[in-house]
Subunit: 357 residues, 2 copies
């Protein structure tokens, strides 16, 4: 039976990305060696690194003055690397969920942290608006997509101080104006590749401005100076990212990706609104195109487990909502085909027919 992979991350990758990765694991470009067993400093892997960086720059239209880096440790390691490098006296954070809180927690190891606004009052089901970013902050940190709650910041905001964004779960889902950001980072395992590599896009002139002694591996300048090869980078995960970026480019780039994502999300959000059994959890203008969270209406609440079993029997995978929201979460990342969203909608309609009171 065909699986429809709605996992929140690690998550679905395009079939050709998976196939090409398997081929490169067996033999990279016919050189007779696996991509796993090559020197990272040899020309074969250097070509992979160079193309991956070039595709980042091309697809996101990254301006001069920014560097694209790859490292290990996940976005969670960036939670402390960002303040290690950028925090001087005070950092400002937007609190839109658990991951945003975790990021802010690490900044507190380095000094003052101001929480500019929070949506904790409604279990993070909206993106706060109308807040003022303090002009005396060293940077302002946002989490653009909140996987657990299904909320997303859809525009590139203006900030009087360097804007730092965790885009782990919506990078490459839409065009972004990189020039509005000081630093963008994220784990690969949603829209890019397998877990094990983290990307960082950083405006180089922001670095080296504080007095702190920074351990070598935690200093962005180290990775800039060595082209992400100060030590051995996660070669295989980077290879898969390159394949995903090739696939996005072939598809028409991030503007086309956004159209596809909007079309997919509309199919599911429309059904959630129409269906008598379900309710969306996020406020409408904060709804994510990447993670679509919904629950059963109060009068059907006792059917949640039954619906989940039914959907699973129809091939849906990873649909259970995070425990802090409950219900269901359909992650509709870039690689998710609209056919899988339609298959999910069919299960909702079929379940409605048989269970509507």
């Amino acid at each position: 039976m065909k699986k429809h992979n709605f996992s929140a991350g690690p998550s679905i990758l395009a079939p050709e990305v998976i196939e090409n990765t398997a081929k490169a694991v067996m033999d990279l470009n016919g050189i007779g060696l696996s991509v796993m067993e090559l020197s990272h400093r040899g020309k074969d892997f250097q070509a992979v690194m160079d193309e991956t960086v070039a595709l980042f720059k091309e697809l996101l239209n990254i301006p001069e003055g920014y560097k694209v880096l790859f490292m290990g440790g996940g976005a969670s390691l960036q939670f402390c690397m960002v303040p290690y490098n950028l925090h001087k006296k005070k950092a400002a954070y937007l609190e839109t969920g658990v991951w945003a809180k975790k990021a802010a927690k690490e900044a507190k190891f380095f000094g003052d942290v101001e929480t500019v606004a929070s949506s904790a009052d409604k279990n993070f089901n909206y993106i706060p608006k109308g807040f003022t970013i303090p002009a005396d902050a060293d940077y302002f940190h946002i989490t653009t997509n909140n996987t657990i709650y299904g909320t997303e910041i859809h525009e590139d905001m203006d900030s009087p101080v360097p804007l730092v964004a965790d885009m782990s779960s919506d990078i490459f889902s839409r065009p972004i104006d990189v020039s509005k950001y000081g630093l963008i980072y994220g784990g690969a395992q949603k829209n890019l590749g397998p877990a094990g590599v983290t990307f960082v896009i950083v405006r180089e002139d922001l670095l080296g401005k504080n007095e702190r002694a920074i351990p070598t591996m935690l200093n962005y300048q180290t990775h800039i100076d060595e082209g992400s090869m100060f030590n051995t980078p996660p070669c295989l995960p980077i290879y898969t990212c390159m394949e995903t970026l090739r696939w996005i480019k072939k598809l028409g780039g991030v503007a086309k990706m956004q159209q596809i994502n909007e079309a997919k999300a509309k199919v599911l959000y429309d059904e959630i609104e129409r269906n008598e059994l379900f309710n969306g959890t996020a406020e409408k203008d904060s709804r994510s195109l990447m993670n679509i969270c919904f629950v059963m209406k109060d009068e059907y609440k006792e059917l949640e487990q039954e619906y989940l079993s039914f959907a699973t029997s129809k091939g849906m995978v990873g649909l259970k909502g995070h425990r802090s929201v409950g219900g269901f979460r359909a992650s509709t990342y870039n690689a998710m085909p609209i056919e899988s969203v339609q298959a999910l909608v069919e299960t909702m309609q079929e379940f409605e027919k048989t269970h509507k009171k």
Copy 2:
């Protein structure tokens, strides 16, 4: 033409490890999903993590009280994590090469560092002996195998303070007495798997003993408490490590691995000693079983490039020595078959016949 992969790292992996990884990239255990697109918290990946930890414990005979962790960032990130967690007043380091020096450099961010002994006087071509480990150090750090210089510490030394070992390039190459170590770490990309995952074996009672505030991701206790799943681990690299450990177990374990490694190294060291054109660079009792470094004798020095081209034409890969030693380096990690070492020896013999003065 068959390639003989002598790369220093990332390096050769066993053919069945490569094949099984490619299969799991396409479909893990027939579940219909790639190992790259599964939730790390689902039962399918949890089984991978559990088996990998269990095989570490079984193959290395790890005693109670130790934890096995997997994280990203490479051994270079451990260079600062070790002192972050263990340095109180003074740490002691054995200086056996560039990597040992890099490790010590990071400890200096956290306090005093004593270099107990060094082989810098002879370009690190031997392992220092007869040194005294200071009893007032918080820990003593060694690099058991020095890839660049082809030297190796072959025994588990007694230390009056916790012994910390970077075993990136010789883990699983021989039985070790883990109880003699406080902490063992290493990147996977030599004897274990692809680049992108780092293992840590740590005696849990050493942790939490200093006053330092440790950022969450840099605190070993975080990873212990969450079973290496505080954040998304590098799932695919861990999968490949599991396949390598299965292969080692099937082969007969690390004692058998050591026999095989000794036999392989003997073939090449014997030829280096016999051949009129070549000289080994490491002192005999410090010679590594993992990286075998040799140069051309002075009277043949001008033939180095020609020999390298000849060997390359016969399928040898990654044979060029590190620039700080020159000449040649044959890395004969666990997965290197003796047939490849014999093929290398044949090129040396053939070259001797045609070039001996």
